[in-house]
Symmetry: C2
Subunit: 91 residues, 2 copies
């Protein structure tokens, strides 16, 4: 409950940034390394790393080390929580 609220806080906080929403849209198409994600934006790698951290903390993405790369993937199951919240407003 308080846990649920915190979860929703983290999710909405993560979604409240156009760059992070774009990262999710990229990852929706395929897994990408941190560097590949950074290359898609005119933002420094440390800043992108920070965005990835926020998305990961909200559980919207997962990461896995592959050699010297870190591969990020989207976790669509969390979107289900947002979906359910939104659906309570349908009429």
């Amino acid at each position: 409950m308080s846990k649920y609220i915190n979860e929703m806080n983290d999710i909405f906080k993560a979604l409240n940034d156009a760059t992070r929403r774009e990262i999710l849209e990229l990852l929706r198409q395929k897994d990408l390394s941190a560097g590949e994600i950074a290359d898609a934006f005119n933002i420094s790698k440390p800043s992108i790393s920070h965005h990835l951290d926020i998305l990961r903390r909200a559980d919207l993405i997962t990461s896995e080390k592959k050699g010297q790369f870190i591969i990020y993937s989207i976790n669509t199951t969390i979107m289900e929580d947002v979906l359910q919240w939104i659906l309570t407003f349908k009429k």
Copy 2:
């Protein structure tokens, strides 16, 4: 397009606050005056007024003057936009 992005920015910004999400949940049940909404929170009336302004700017709520009261209503059609965005992630 850029308009769409701004709209999404406003919507997600509005949703990125637990108090504002609670206001939406209250209004989902019935229309309320600004004062009635404020009474539901331990937050000053001016702060609630500010939250209402952010929700109204995102078009998530509408307001109508009724005598000396201002009655707020939820606008669920905007939730449809969020819903559509979320749905693009459904696998």
